[in-house]
């Protein structure tokens, strides 16, 4: 008897899991092509292209962009463009800085023994397990106290005043990204034999050249995985951003939340679709990097 024969229960469980995981996404994407303005029921795709948008009540009959009407509307929305710009600026900046810090931390923790090492290791997990809202409030308190003190002490007024903005969001993103990067790079370093570095030094490379030519290329897949993970976390972060953003630093999640409070138009869906596409590609890239890292090269 085949011990791996399919049980109907397993099939049912699998179906349910996939249904609840992906049905919302499918519906969300589907509604971004909805002909109806009201995002309550699906009235089919927008059927045709035309010079101008033709409406029948709340239903779009035709549009210059055809079925992609809501994506075109979205692209004309300056607020969305600004929010997307902010999101990407923050994500890129924070990812680069967090990756550098996180990688250095991982290497230091692997290479050196120091008194506070167990503490450092535990402190890495704290930002991961602590509720995001607690961290958000904490960071907000820190910034407002510090900024209040600086502004008062140096008598800063008007535009010179320190206030919440892109910089504060970026700094707080770096703060929660570093542990993720460090842990991913640490996992990669776990199997790293120090004889590779010794071999490089033995062959005449000094410490810096050894890092540049041997250590870094060997841990690069781990560093990239860590960076991509951090990047996707930053892209869709809501809670911490909510507490630390200010005027002019609205990110996409914050913007969508704002839209939802007023009216849900298929623009939100269109935005989400684009977003899912970007994150999905990032995940695919991550998977590809990891598979490349593990796949053994076969001898001929």
């Amino acid at each position: 008897m085949n011990p791996h024969r399919r049980s109907p229960l397993i099939l049912a469980a699998t179906t349910l899991v996939y249904f609840f995981l992906y049905a919302p996404i499918v519906i969300l994407v589907l509604y971004s092509f909805n002909a109806s303005r009201a995002n309550i029921k699906f009235e089919g795709f927008i059927p045709s292209f035309s010079e101008r948008v033709v409406m029948d009540g709340s239903t779009v009959k035709s549009s210059p962009c055809g079925p992609f009407h809501w994506f075109c509307e979205l692209s004309k929305n300056d607020d969305v463009i600004e929010a997307a710009g902010n999101t990407l600026t923050i994500a890129f900046t924070a990812t680069i800085i967090a990756t550098i810090i996180g990688t250095m931390a991982a290497i230091a923790m692997q290479r050196y023994d120091f008194k506070l090492k167990p503490f450092s290791q535990i402190s890495l997990y704290i930002p991961i397990v602590i509720p995001e809202i607690v961290m958000g409030i904490g960071i907000l308190t820190l910034f407002s106290q510090f900024f209040g003190w600086v502004n008062a002490t140096f008598g800063l007024t008007g535009d010179a005043r320190l206030s919440l903005g892109i910089a504060t969001v970026t700094v707080s993103h770096i703060a929660f990204m570093v542990p993720f990067v460090t842990l991913v790079v640490q996992a990669r370093l776990q199997g790293f034999d120090k004889s590779f570095e010794e071999a490089a030094m033995d062959l005449g490379a000094n410490e810096w050249t050894t890092f540049r030519r041997v250590t870094f290329p060997m841990i690069l897949p781990g560093v990239l995985s860590g960076a991509l993970l951090a990047f996707t976390l930053s892209l869709d972060d809501f809670v911490i951003t909510f507490f630390t953003n200010g005027p002019g630093s609205t990110t996409l999640p914050i913007y969508v939340y704002g839209l939802l409070r007023r009216i849900i138009t298929p623009q939100v869906n269109a935005l989400s679709t684009v977003w899912i596409l970007i994150v999905f590609m990032a995940v695919l890239l991550l998977q590809w990097l990891q598979s490349r890292e593990e796949k053994p090269v076969r001898a001929k």
């Binding site: 030094m201 033995d202 062959l203 005449g204 060997m218």
Partner: protein
Amino acid sequence: MASEFAVELRDVVKRFITPEGNEIAAVDHVTMQIKNGEFFSMLGSSGCGKTTSLRMIAGFEWPSEGEVYIEGRAMGHTPPYQRKVNTVFQNYALFQHMTVYQNVAFGLEMEGASPDEIKKRVARALEMVQLTGMERRRPRQLSGGQQQRVAVARALVKTPDVLLLDEPLGALDLKLRKEMQLELKALQQQLGITFIYVTHDQEEALTMSDRIAVMSNGQVRQMGTPVEIYERPTNKFVADFIGESNFLEGRIKSISAKEASVFIPALNTEVKGMPMSQGLVNGEEVVVSIRPEKVRIAEKAARGEGLFKGRVLTSVYIGSDTHVYLDVRGVRIKVMEQNRISRLDPSSFYVKDQEVTILLMPENTLVLKKD
């Protein structure tokens, strides 16, 4: 060359702190002088300090006490990249993200050699280890033996004064290992470079080395040529560690410059004219070491000096030899007999409880200090 010795260790100590906080001396007052062009092996079981000694020569570790000299220059805290020695690592440590060519070229790039020169020298090094045509392969696409050759080429391309080899053949299967032993030895003789070779395999050390240092517990127990180490071990540890020995306890009855007469209570006899190690005094309690292959099982009717009656306990056929375990007056003695004739005839075997006579030639024994 600046010095008679390629490498010298003077009273070197290396202490480590164990995770439990205890201090241990991995290398404990080791002094060795390794001559130019010599194939020198450090032999010992794991934890004897051989690899730590090698790592101190390479510069991966610094001595806690004492000094390492390379070509007569005290090394102090000189980093590995400023020492004219190169290492072949136990796991090869080939750079997985580089091709074979890039691996071998790495050391030359670090020297700042011109691209033309690098090309020429890499080609020559790969030819030397018979890997021409493999330049563009990645290490993982090579067999264990091929990876080993790349590691050797990568180190030798730098034309070091001294090549350090840390159990380089440990990961290979027996047949390939024996082939590589001879190849490495031939390479060393052809290049005339000093090789310092770390191994736990005594046969390997005996096969390849000009001189061997037998180590245990961080100390050198004996240093000498393979013949000296095997035929004239200076202490019981070496006699036991290298090859096999039967040990009989006894007491020196009389002594001359190089020979001793020892009364062996177990055999109830005094054996005269046995070679002995240095530093023994008359009346001292000693052990007599007898190599199993140097004991002969004699004809039944033989009579005379050095003959002892024994009873066969068991005999083991291992192809090239037969090992016979005997009870000689209550002492267990192992005898190794070469199978010069076919043992297909069952009557040529020794059977349990068979009465035999053994011949013990005094010149084939050795009197050693009791540890």
